[in-house]
Symmetry: C2
Subunit: 364 residues, 2 copies
């Protein structure tokens, strides 16, 4: 049997340098744990545009469809702001999500003990925080038609369409219910059913799936605006949250910021099972390309390494190895290692991207 | 000349009891400051549905179109959850916004010194916070067509449409630029121009209005997901924020919660000037109808009274009187008066809704 395959797409900004550290970790698993991966690499985002005039080459797309997991760094940068919408770096990312049909985006918001002081929220509000936001990732207003800027009389009109089918809602709901079962068995679904019909359908379908397939899971519903409030007020009331693409974008970013350390947060985007039983999957840090610090060895590689840990868990049936990697990171932080983004107002001496990677390997 | 006219719509839940306190304040202004108002009252939301089978009677709508200002309490409650979308309490509120064409929704998020400890955020992050979110209120996905739940093959599909015209964006942008000029001259506009064409048009129009009419105001743009993050991370970086209807709903609720005291936050919804020069206007607290505590004298009337202060400022050219009322509230809080929602974990003895109203009148 051939080795499991990984496609690395470092992308733009700090993407390449954080991915270098992930490569070290992958190599470690090959050498020390006898888990060899077949690793290939390619371009995405601005880097792909610079070379091919498109943020995702068709060959790269084809390769992404074949591998067991894609690891993505980050896309975008001010240099590409002037580009036309259709070739912006983000379109490369969105095409991957859409064509791989990665409908279930898992975004854990976890507060590491060693970093609880670092949040803008009071320590007691966030210490021990561990929630999982499941965001629908392939539909909704991100992809609905009609869309565009049109001329009406002598005015421009901007149009986007929020569109959800019953089956699109059902499959992401199932994935959230499954996760809830593995955690504390509670799921909160968020929409604006008081204002949007697509929200009514969302609520109805989630309720139906619950009754028919997951009656053992405790289900609640919340309007998304109240959800944003509750995430700020008392985030620990939540365990798993499921919501649509746009609300998920905003709520998961707010949740991420609760932890105080964006450089720490991974994500997994999962699709349907492939022939070998593994889900189509892409893993990426929640942080962006941070062009202001790119290439300076200042970036925190932990979010990207934790994304690889999610790959171990969700793609490579290696939950224990994932836990080992996560524990190593917690130890390194407890020992006081800090990249620049993890220094509080008290200051201190930061270590570099590479040093953080090495420290994690050393503990492993 | 006749007195300025006010239509009071107490609505549901705690709406009526907080509005009782506003009535006391209005009476005080009539007696002590020689500012008599012509006050009428009517039903909205569930209360209107119970009597008329509709959340807003046409006669009420007609009256709202005539008065100088509408004061609204709150709408909604679990009793009405089973109602059809078209007659839910919220539809009454949305109809008022739409038919009065109240396109500019001003939502201040202010942290009162006496209550800074009360936030889930660290005191230094929120003490002195004073930002103003300007939310577009009459368009976007709240009102765009097509909308509904349709059958496609044997599946249901939920559809809503985000639709913004150039002039809709321009008018709310102008109102935000004007406000920025009265404050610290900085405006941040939020959208998802990286994903939505309606966001691109939003950004373009705001940029054009800026260049042509408000080059003196410092303008920045931010993606709405990053906006949610930044509001949690460092809210004081903002002064005035302008955004669309849906993002405004979520971001203003997150911002409101930063202050730690939802029972304190007012809002103003303004439209075009009427014949007498005053804008069409509705004022309402940001909090909801809180059915769980309704009728028990536990509700905090301050948000609703501060909404009346906004009416003094924006509808009745009485900015100094508004400031007097706001100062009286700050004094009452500094003196230690607390309704139940304002008691921290340390506890204490709460005063009732009516006692809070009386305390404010006493200081006035
Ligand atoms: C980069 C952008 C297109 C993307 C999104 O809006 O989904 C990002 O914000 C995210 O959350 O992954
Ligand atoms: C009650 C509801 C329709 C309303 C909205 O979504 O606009 C509320 O959340 C608000 O923010 O005023």
């Amino acid at each position: 049997m051939s080795n499991p395959s990984i496609l690395i797409l470092p992308g733009d900004g700090i993407g390449p340098e954080v991915m270098d550290e992930v490569r070290k970790v992958i190599a470690w698993y090959g050498e020390k744990r006898d888990m060899a991966f077949d690793v290939s690499e390619d371009l995405v985002g601005g880097a792909a545009y610079d070379k091919h005039g498109t943020p995702l080459h068709d060959d790269t797309m084809a390769r992404a469809m074949e591998v067991d997991a894609v690891l993505l760094g980050a896309v975008g940068g001010p240099k590409y702001d002037v580009l036309d919408f259709s070739v912006k770096p983000e379109r490369g990312l969105l095409r991957l999500r859409k064509e791989m049909d990665l409908f279930s985006n898992l975004r854990p918001a976890q507060c590491f003990d060693a970093l609880a002081d670092f949040s803008s929220l009071k320590k007691e509000v966030v210490a021990g925080l561990d929630i999982m936001i499941v965001r629908e990732l392939t539909s909704g207003i991100y992809f609905g038609e009609p869309r565009g800027i049109f001329k009406e009389g002598n005015e421009r009109v901007g149009i986007n369409t929020q569109r959800y089918t019953e089956s699109e809602i059902a499959r992401v709901a199932r994935s959230a219910f499954e996760l809830a079962r593995l955690r504390s068995n509670r799921l909160c679904s968020m929409e604006k059913a008081n204002v949007m019909e697509s929200g009514i359908l969302w609520r109805d379908v989630v309720t139906e799936i619950h009754a028919a397939e997951y009656p053992d899971v405790e289900l609640s519903h919340m309007y998304a605006d109240n959800g944003a409030m509750q995430l700020v007020r008392a985030p620990k009331q939540f365990d798993v949250i499921v919501t649509d693409n746009l609300f998920g974008d905003i709520l998961s970013d707010a949740a991420a910021m609760l932890t105080g350390s964006l450089g720490m947060l991974p994500s997994a985007s999962l699709g349907a099972p492939m022939e070998n039983g593994r889900p189509k999957a892409m893993y990426e840090p929640v942080h962006g390309s941070a062009p202001d610090i790119a290439g300076q060895g200042k970036a925190n590689p932990i979010a990207c390494i934790l994304s690889f840990a999610m790959a171990l868990r969700y793609s490579f049936e290696a939950g224990e190895e994932a836990a080992r990697l996560e524990a190593a990171i917690a130890t390194v932080l407890a020992n006081g290692a800090r990249t620049a983004d993890l220094l509080g107002p008290e200051g201190g001496t930061p270590i570099s991207t590479g040093e953080m990677g090495d420290a994690i390997i050393a503990v492993l």
